[in-house]
Amino acid sequence: MSETEALSASPLFANLEPAQLERLGLMAERRCFLAGTVILKQHTPVEDFHLILSGQVSLSVDGLTVQTLQSGEVLGWSWLIPPYESHLDAITVTDTETVSLDCVALRAAMDEDHDLGYALLRRAIRPMLERLQSCRLQVLDVYHQGGTR
C-alpha cells in the first residue's frame, strides 16, 4: 500500500480531491517503530503528524499513562497549534507502523489550499471530540459509581 492509499483509507483523509491526496502523499512516509520507541516527547517540538496503521502507542503526562491509541487513530494534534510542542509523551507499546506527514509541509499546504485546510480541520474535530469525551468519562470515574449487580 502506498502512502497515498494508506492516507485515503483513514476517515481523516478519505474522499479528498485526488490532487489533494496526491500532494499529501508526497509529504508522507511509512515508518516502523519498535516497541518502546519515544515518538513524541513532552514539551518538545512536533515535527511529524502520525496516522497509526498498526500497533499500539501510549500517551503519558509526567510519566502517567492516560490513554493508548491503536490502528486507525491519529497521534497528537499539537502540530496544528502554536507553539507546535507536544503536551504528552507518546511511546510505542508494541511494534508500530505509521504513515507520517511532515508538519511544516502539511501546515503550508493547508495555508495555501484553504479548501484542503478547511476539510482537514473539519474532519479533525470528530476524533478530537471523541478523545475529549473519552477523557471526560475517565475523569467521571463512572465504574466507581452505581449499582450492585
Binding site: 491503536q70 507499546v93 463512572v142 465504574y143 452505581g146 450492585t148
Partner: protein, 281 residues
C-alpha cells in the same frame, strides 16, 4: 398469611456454599438450594437475594447457565455497596439466604444466532454478560466473530481476568481490555471502552451489540456504535433500576413505559432511545 409454596413472592432458602473475593468490593457467592434443584435461567435475568434481617436486592444471574445448574448451584457476583449487599458479603459459609427468581427478560440468545457479536461491558456490567459468553462459547459454531470489550476502573478492579484470557483463546474471539488508570506492567489498553469501538471494523449488516455497564458508559457506547453504522435494532442493553417486587407490580423500576424488572432488564435499544436522554428518569 404465609405466601403459598412456589409463589414468586416467597423466597426459597439457599445455603452459602462458597464465597470468593473478586476485587476489594466485589465478591461471588455460590448458593445451593436447601431442597431440590436450582431453577434454569437465561443469561441476563436476575434474582432477588434476601439477606435475612436486612432486606432484598436485585442481583444479576452469574456463573454458567448450563454447568452450574447441572451441578446444582447458582452463582452471584455482587458489589458490596449498600445495607443488603454488605450483609451478604459478611455471611459465613453455611448460612442461609432467601432467593426469589429468576426474573425478567435476558439476552436474546436465540435471536442473535448466526451473527457477529460485539459484547461491551463496563465494570460490574461484565457480570450479566459473562453467562452469555459462557453459553455462546459452548455453542461456538452457531455464532460469527465475537469481540469482547471490557473496561474497568483499574487493573485491580477487573473481574474474571483469567477467564477473559481463556476466552481470547477461542477461534475468532477477540478480547480487548481497557482501564481508566493503569499500573506498571499493564500492557493492554488505557482509556474508556467506547474509545475502542472505532477501530473494530464491524460489519453493521450482520452484527449485534450487547452492552452492560454504568448508564453513562452505555449512552456513549451507543453513540460510538451508531457512528460505526449499527442500527438501534442491533443493540441490546441491560438496564439497572431500583427493583423491589421484581414482578411488575410496584413500579419502582419504571423507565418511561417500561417496567425494567418485567420487560427487561435487557432491552433492544430502539425501545429505550426515547427515554435514555430524559433526565432523572
Amino acid at each position: 398469611m404465609a405466601a403459598p409454596q412456589n409463589s414468586p413472592w416467597a423466597p426459597r432458602r439457599y445455603r452459602v456454599e462458597a464465597h470468593q473475593a473478586e476485587t476489594r468490593d466485589v465478591f461471588t457467592l455460590r448458593l445451593r438450594p436447601l431442597a431440590g434443584p436450582p431453577p434454569t435461567f437465561v443469561p441476563g435475568q436476575f434474582n432477588m437475594l434476601y439477606a435475612f434481617g436486612h432486606g432484598e436486592s436485585a442481583i444479576s444471574m452469574g456463573g454458567d447457565p448450563v454447568a452450574d445448574v447441572r451441578e446444582g448451584y447458582l452463582q452471584h457476583t455482587i458489589r458490596a455497596v449498600g445495607n443488603v449487599t454488605n450483609a451478604l458479603r459478611k455471611l459465613p459459609l453455611g448460612s442461609s439466604i432467601g432467593v426469589r427468581g429468576p426474573f425478567g427478560v435476558g439476552w436474546p440468545v436465540d435471536e442473535i444466532r448466526g451473527q457477529d457479536l460485539l459484547i461491551v461491558a463496563g465494570g460490574l456490567g461484565l457480570v450479566p454478560l459473562a453467562p452469555l459468553v459462557r453459553q455462546v462459547l459452548r455453542q461456538r459454531a452457531d455464532f460469527g466473530r465475537i469481540q469482547i470489550l471490557y473496561g474497568s476502573r483499574s487493573v485491580d478492579d477487573q473481574l474474571f481476568a483469567p477467564e477473559l484470557t481463556q476466552w481470547a483463546g477461542f477461534e475468532s474471539v477477540e478480547v480487548y481490555r481497557t482501564v481508566d488508570a493503569a499500573t506498571p506492567g499493564w500492557s493492554d489498553h488505557i482509556g474508556t471502552v467506547t474509545h475502542l469501538i472505532p477501530s473494530l471494523r464491524l460489519n453493521p449488516d450482520n452484527a449485534v451489540a450487547l452492552v452492560c455497564g454504568p448508564e453513562i458508559m452505555m449512552r456513549f457506547t451507543v453513540m460510538a456504535l451508531a457512528q460505526a453504522g449499527l442500527p438501534d435494532t442491533a443493540i441490546y442493553m441491560s438496564l439497572e433500576r431500583h427493583m423491589q417486587c421484581a414482578l411488575g407490580f410496584c413500579g419502582h423500576c419504571l423507565f418511561g413505559p417500561e417496567l425494567v424488572c418485567r420487560d427487561g432488564p435487557v432491552f433492544r435499544f430502539d425501545r429505550l432511545r426515547r427515554w435514555m436522554g430524559v433526565k432523572s428518569l
